[in-house]
């Protein structure tokens, strides 16, 4: 729920329990007078209208602007002309844009792999801990998860402060003399690494807790009977744990991929895409192009490319989710 994210915004963890009855007797059906007439539509109207104006309309506007010649002059005078796909041609012909796309995928891959590996390990660890250890680790995870993005970003800037930061002090004490006053944010790879550390630190709690709650749904009888049948530890993991946890794992994986794009805030506040272009990923590039360079058309086009990339992941996510639904009902 923010990590990312968010970590920012808390998302409901993918469900791990309570199959809902959708058919057969006992179906939670309408009351005798319910569902007929106009009432349901009156009840959903505000939500629908809000979504149309605050979500669908901006999305359409973004598509339209990305097809127009839209700069500062058009913003003020409002006389934008349609130029077809020219903005997209400009983008795709720009080597800097391809750099950014490559960097976005690299950034995403590094983050997501680290998040998934660490969360899985942490989830398996929580399951094996005693009562006290479990509560301690879960509390620590929840506290990390609750840390607001901006506060966390500020703290990481302070941790890696070149002169008074604790990280440089510890590294120097450990004998890495080269880290004395090492300016982390002045070097591309170092700044990139700090951002990855920050995002992984913020995202692991949600993923680990969700995976752990998936692990707890595995019935203990299964484990016991498998052990009675003489199955080895790895074999039990492969044949029992994995099939049950896999759908949740896939859900978390796609969520984390989507949330990596939300790393915009951390990057914007910490490095503003710098040094140079070292930490500029697609959303940062789009906002820089539009709101800093006043090329709203190119920025919107870059945003649309981002949305298309994200939609691909989203389709996978929904397919996974509905498949899980079908298995349950």
């Amino acid at each position: 729920m923010s990590a990312v994210r968010e970590q920012t915004a808390p998302h409901p963890p993918p469900s791990t329990s309570r199959p809902r009855r959708t058919t057969g007797p006992g179906r939670r059906g309408p009351s005798k007078d319910g569902g007929r007439g106009i009432w349901p539509y009156v009840l959903i109207a505000p939500a629908v209208l809000g979504t149309l104006y605050l979500l669908v309309y901006p999305l359409i506007r973004a598509v339209v602007i990305s097809l127009q010649d839209f700069g500062l002059r058009q913003l003020i005078l409002g006389d934008a002309r349609f130029v077809g796909l020219k903005n997209y041609e400009t983008l795709l012909g720009d080597s800097r844009f391809w750099e950014v796309v490559r960097r976005t995928f690299l950034f995403m891959a590094v983050n997501v792999v680290l998040i998934m590996v660490l969360s899985t390990l942490v989830a398996l660890m929580i399951e094996r801990l005693g009562r006290f250890g479990r509560i301690a680790v879960l509390s620590a995870l929840v506290l990390t998860w609750a840390m607001p993005v901006i506060a966390a970003t500020t703290v990481f800037q302070w941790l890696f402060h070149s002169e008074f930061g604790i990280v440089n002090a510890v590294l120097t004490d450990l004998g890495f003399e080269s880290f004395d006053r090492y300016p982390w944010f002045a070097h591309g790879p170092a700044a990139f690494a700090i951002l990855v550390a920050l995002i992984v630190w913020q995202s692991v709690p949600f993923a680990a807790i969700t995976l752990y709650s998936a692990l707890t749904t595995v019935p203990t009888e299964l484990y016991e009977s498998a052990r009675l049948d003489g199955a080895s530890g790895p074999r039990i993991f492969r044949s029992i744990t994995l099939p049950i946890v896999r759908p949740i794992f896939m859900l978390v994986l796609s969520l984390e991929v989507i949330w990596t794009f939300k790393a915009f805030v951390q990057i914007w506040v910490m490095t503003n895409g710098g040094p140079g272009d070292a930490t500029t990923i697609l959303p940062v590039y789009a906002v820089q192009t539009a709101l800093s360079s006043q090329r709203y058309d190119l920025g919107s086009a870059a945003s649309m490319v981002t949305v298309v990339l994200m939609s691909g992941v989203l389709v996978l996510y929904f397919r996974q989710m509905f498949r899980q639904e079908d298995e349950l009902s």
Partner: protein, 279 residues
């Protein structure tokens, strides 16, 4: 499982647990510790993990900073109004989805799920332009509307899950006893829903409380309408290199969210929204 294991086998496991806790908590601890450390100790060449002496000076600096009270007020105002709006509108819609059968219901649920995944980071440009065209730049209600939309889908999904867990028979029998349908909902279901409403609204509140991007790009000229995250992100202009004050401000800003999460921990860790992702 673990009781049968010899103690020696558990040492690596417990070590891993300790490492996890330390890695999670250290940045949070360091924020709070720095906020209480006197400046001369902060700017020493060898920082200590435990502050030698404690001081409240940094908190005084942070609270006394220009516009501090104003930004708190703005943040609280925008957050509260967005969450209340989302709750009211989501409650009606969630009731329609959970208790009534109508044409387009499935499509509506799918729309809500997709809306929950809205690419807000990619919508900032059109929202900026629309706000500019409708004369809504630099105004707090604009932020309220955006935050309302950000939290609405989640709120709706979770509330619908909560309503689903309340047997409709309760309301039906109340109706037999002469209650109207809304009356039955108000007297029977609503009291049962209250904890769910609380939990949901707290998550919405955290989302809105932490939102930076829109607050940063939609409030430009009217500096008095800024919110806390934006103010905190510009601390270098406010406090310069006064890291103690910066950490104190961060601590104050993070405290509400940390408290809320810890209070809700049981809900969070028990898969709080178990009913949330069910179609």
């Amino acid at each position: 499982m673990s009781t049968t294991r010899p103690r020696v086998r558990r040492i690596p496991l417990n070590a891993a647990a300790v490492v996890t806790v330390v890695v999670c908590l250290f940045p949070v601890y360091w924020m709070v510790a720095t906020a209480f450390t006197p400046s001369r100790d902060i700017q020493s060449d060898n920082p200590r993990f435990l502050p030698r002496s404690w001081t409240l000076d940094h908190f005084r600096t942070a609270v006394g900073a220009d516009g501090f009270g104003l930004f708190w007020r703005n943040s609280i105002l925008v957050t509260l109004s967005a969450v209340v709006l989302a709750l009211v509108i989501a409650l009606g819609a969630a009731y329609a989805v959970a208790r009534m059968r109508w044409k387009g219901r499935r499509q509506f649920v799918l729309m809500v799920f997709i809306a929950q995944m809205a690419p807000w980071e990619s919508l900032i440009i059109p929202v900026y332009i629309i706000s500019r065209d409708t004369d809504m730049l630099d105004r707090l209600p604009t932020l309220t509307l955006v935050y309302f939309m950000m939290t609405l889908p989640f709120t709706l999904i979770v509330l619908r899950g909560f309503i689903d867990t309340i047997p409709p028979e309760l309301e039906e029998s109340a109706q037999v006893d002469g209650c109207t349908r809304p009356g039955a909902f108000r007297h029977i279901a609503f009291p049962l829903l209250a904890p769910g409403l609380m939990a949901t609204s707290l998550f919405g509140y955290i989302t809105a409380w932490n939102e930076f991007t829109y607050a940063n790009f939609l409030i430009i000229k009217q500096q008095d309408n800024r919110t806390l995250p934006v103010w905190l992100s510009s601390f270098q202009n406010v406090f310069g290199t006064d890291w103690g004050a910066t950490m104190a401000a961060s601590t104050l800003f993070a405290a509400p969210a940390l408290v809320v999460f810890l209070a809700l921990q049981r809900h969070v860790t028990s898969g709080f929204a178990a009913g949330a992702v069910k179609g």
